[in-house]
């Protein structure tokens, strides 16, 4: 799949995902060692995007499992399709009557029905959920288990079993093993500490806010409409804003939104007015906007200067 770490970075860049050596190494290792990657980091730095891009690069189908409190096996793994089973029994009513027609006693009828049980508990009536789909797929898939910290600890224990063996046992059907070990990415926003056992199954990757130079590359790539000067100014301002004491620090997605907005407005360079009126694209809380407004001149200096001064 990948020849080297640099190869990963190249292929990702072709799909418009800029990644440093750190991310590329983790992806390369995960692919070679067949281990899941656990990605942590602030919101909006491209954790989910990483999985999508990896799927795209590998030409694999992306199967996504969004975690939430109360998520259980029937939503994550598989469920029996009751409705379909019911429908079939209705349609096959005559056939069933025929089958149990000769039975003398109730016990005899039950006996006959139960000998046909496997018809109703077969693959036909299993409704596969993301995890089972990822395992049984004919081609290799990419499995994204998003925000695993939102799920309950019990679910984590259950994931552990699947991620270590890539097999699932369904009591009525037996054990199903993966034909192709999927490429697994787990993400966590760190609202709760993920258990050590799960962490040990995974390679660990922490994605932080990008460096000035990296973010500039991302803006150039994703918002090609922004001129070189504008792109530089945008990145400088965002980088300085991140040093402020804010409720919600702007992430890459905010940078890109802002860049896109400024391109639509038709700005070639940032002015104080423009900065003032578009701050709400970058910052999502009134208090944060107030905080940034107080430092507008400093932000503007950051935008127009080459250096990137801390604002404190």
């Amino acid at each position: 799949m990948f020849e080297s770490v640099d190869d990963v970075a190249d292929k990702f860049e072709k799909k418009k995902y800029i990644c440093g050596n750190e991310i590329a190494t983790a992806v390369f290792l995960a692919e070679k060692m067949g281990k899941p990657i656990l990605v942590e980091g602030p919101a909006g730095v491209g954790k989910t995007e990483l999985a999508k891009t990896a799927a795209d690069v590998m030409g694999a189908e992306l199967i996504r499992l969004q975690c939430y409190e109360g998520l259980d096996e029937t939503k994550a793994l598989y469920e029996w399709e009751y409705g379909k089973q019911l429908l079939y029994t209705q349609i096959l009513k005559e056939k069933i009557d025929e089958l149990i027609g000769g039975a003398e006693t109730l016990a005899g009828a039950v006996e006959r029905i139960s000998s046909q049980e496997e018809v109703f508990f077969s693959r036909r009536f299993v409704l596969p959920r993301p995890l089972l789909r990822a395992i049984t797929a004919e081609k290799r898939t990419a499995l994204l288990i998003d925000e695993v910290d939102r799920a309950d600890p019990e679910f984590e224990a259950f994931l552990l079993e699947i991620l270590s063996d890539f097999q699932v046992s369904i009591p009525e059907l037996g054990t199903i093993s993966a034909a192709h070990v999927p490429f697994v990415v787990l993400t966590s926003n760190n609202t709760r500490e993920v258990s050590d056992a799960l962490k040990r199954r995974c390679l660990y990757l922490f994605i932080n806010y990008p460096s000035h130079e990296q973010e500039l590359r991302i803006v150039r790539l994703k918002v090609p409409g922004a001129g070189e000067r504008l792109a530089r100014e945008i990145v400088s301002v965002v980088q300085s804003v991140r040093t402020l004491d804010l409720k919600k620090t702007p992430s890459i997605s905010e940078t890109l939104d802002w860049a896109a907005a400024l391109v639509i407005i038709g700005a070639a360079s940032l002015t104080e007015d423009l900065l003032n009126s578009t701050l709400n694209v970058v910052l999502k809380f009134e208090e944060d906007i107030e905080e940034a407004r107080k430092r507008l001149p400093a932000l503007l200096r950051a935008a127009h200067g080459t250096e990137n001064p801390e604002l404190h």
Binding site: A26, Y204, F206
Partner: protein
């Protein structure tokens, strides 16, 4: 290399990063694919396999820098400038050592040929004879560097290099090749001692990290708060926090089991219309989550000063972990610190408390008055979902204890817990009125050490998440 990586893992462990044998195996398994040639990739491979949290990642970066360092980087750069010249230039450029007219010294030879393996060997030998493992302080850097250089016979080697320069300078006519060679030797003569000094500095930092063997937590847990040093307290804080986090997981698991309630008939019917009304999917009523509230009152007076930093830290953790917490500190007056703790990190918040920013901390303790203030101003926040925690030694300077307030609070609250940092034998001695308060508490703990505190925490979490009766 394997040895070196294992040593590095050992170093990580010693600095508090838990690396399991499985992860060690993963690390080597990963290196099979990525190799050790590229430093950045090598580092990231180790990072991806050995590190398990962002806090550990920071520690990893720091130790990696100290441990894996290309000592010959500076010298290689000197050579890089010369390499092209050597390839293009006359034959003698490739045999510089001969210019000294004597049998070349091993070190001089290795330097000129940029033979890092040989240099490494020479340096390792010198390290051993100079006993570099015992360097600890920065002021030892220069003496150690001198010692290393003399063990490597640098005096002789540099003399030889100088003689080569002499020969070069006498060469006629001047040529770019001659100047390049001269520059190379000159830079090596000044660069090598600098490299050795840098080496000494790094070894010193590494020795320091080696020595940073964390004192074992276990014995500290049983040590009395009174005798803990500041460093030990810091360590305890981490332990308290970690335990508190575990508690939270347990609590969240426990509250959820209460949530499945009665069958919701309407919803069930609606959901099963497509099955002809046969109820395949049951829908349940969800019990509304009863929001717990914790109220903490923490004594910060002189008599409990030895324990107050840990007690405050405990309050801080509680507030961080549970959604609805109101925190108060008191001496004789009472002040709320909930928003202060929300706004500032623990260190800054504690400093504010101790600098009289909330209440006058140098006052004489008066439990009765503090309780009265609480009752007057905040009595209404205590209800059947509230667990009240008091931290203090109940030494009230012979003032009226006003135990009736505690009785009233207990009557209105879900639970009342008292944590006393003093050992039980001191209770009711002198001005302690613990005995007056104790009857109104659901549980009383003496928390003279961290283990007791942890025990108390587990009790509180159990009490505060039980369904109110």
């Amino acid at each position: 290399m394997e040895r070196k990586i294992l040593n590095f893992i050992e170093l990580l462990r010693r600095n508090g990063c838990r690396v399991s044998p499985l992860e060690t195996l993963d690390c080597f398994g990963g290196l099979v694919h990525t190799g050790v040639a590229d430093r950045e990739t090598f580092r990231n491979t180790l990072r991806a396999t050995l590190v398990k949290s962002s806090a550990e990642a920071e520690l990893f970066d720091e130790l990696f820098e100290v441990f894996f360092f290309n000592e010959w980087g500076a010298l290689s750069r000197i050579h890089a400038a010369f390499r092209d010249e050597a390839r293009r230039g006359p034959e003698w450029l490739r045999n510089l050592p001969a210019l000294s007219g004597e049998a070349p010294e091993a070190l001089a030879l290795a330097l000129i040929e940029n033979d890092t393996a040989a240099l490494q060997r020479i340096l390792a030998q010198a390290d051993e004879s100079a006993g570099i493992d015992s360097i600890v302080y920065a002021f030892q850097d220069n003496p150690y560097a001198h010692r290393l250089l003399s063990h490597m016979n640098w005096g002789k080697a540099s003399g030889q290099l100088e003689r080569i320069r002499d020969t070069l300078r006498r060469m006629e006519p001047p040529s770019t090749a001659r100047d390049a060679a001269d520059r190379l030797i000159r830079d090596l003569i000044s660069g090598f001692p600098e490299t050795v000094r840098e080496h000494v500095r790094r070894r010193r930092r590494r020795n320091r990290a080696d020595a940073l063997r964390k004192p074992a937590l276990e014995p500290l847990l049983d040590k009395n708060f009174f005798t803990l040093t500041e460093d030990e307290k810091r360590l305890m804080k981490d332990a308290v926090k970690k335990l508190a986090e575990k508690m939270k997981t347990i609590v969240s698991a426990r509250t959820r089991t209460h949530r499945r309630g009665k069958l919701n008939v309407r919803k069930t019917l609606r959901r099963n219309v497509r099955h002809g009304g046969v109820p395949f999917h049951a829908a349940f009523e969800w019990k509304r989550k009863k929001k717990r509230q914790i109220v903490v009152l923490c004594d910060v007076s002189e008599s409990v000063r030895y324990a107050s930093s840990l007690m405050l830290h405990f309050v801080y953790c509680v507030q961080e972990l549970f959604a609805r917490v109101r925190s108060f500190v008191f001496v004789s007056e009472l002040g709320e610190v909930t928003s202060l703790f929300n706004r500032r990190d623990s260190g800054a918040a504690f400093a504010d408390v101790m600098n009289n920013k909330v209440i006058a901390v140098a006052d004489h303790t008066n439990y009765g008055l503090a309780l009265l203030r609480f009752h007057e101003r905040f009595g209404h926040i205590v209800n059947k979902r509230t667990t009240v925690i008091v931290l203090g030694d109940a030494r009230t300077n012979y003032a009226d204890p006003r135990a009736w307030i505690l009785k009233d609070v207990r009557r209105r609250a879900h639970g009342l817990v008292w944590l006393n940092p003093e050992s039980r034998s001191g209770w009711d001695q002198d001005d302690s009125v613990m005995g007056k308060y104790e009857p109104y508490c659901d549980a009383v703990f003496e928390i003279r050490n961290t283990r007791r505190l942890l025990h108390a925490v587990s009790h509180i979490t159990r009490v505060s998440c039980r369904t109110p009766g």
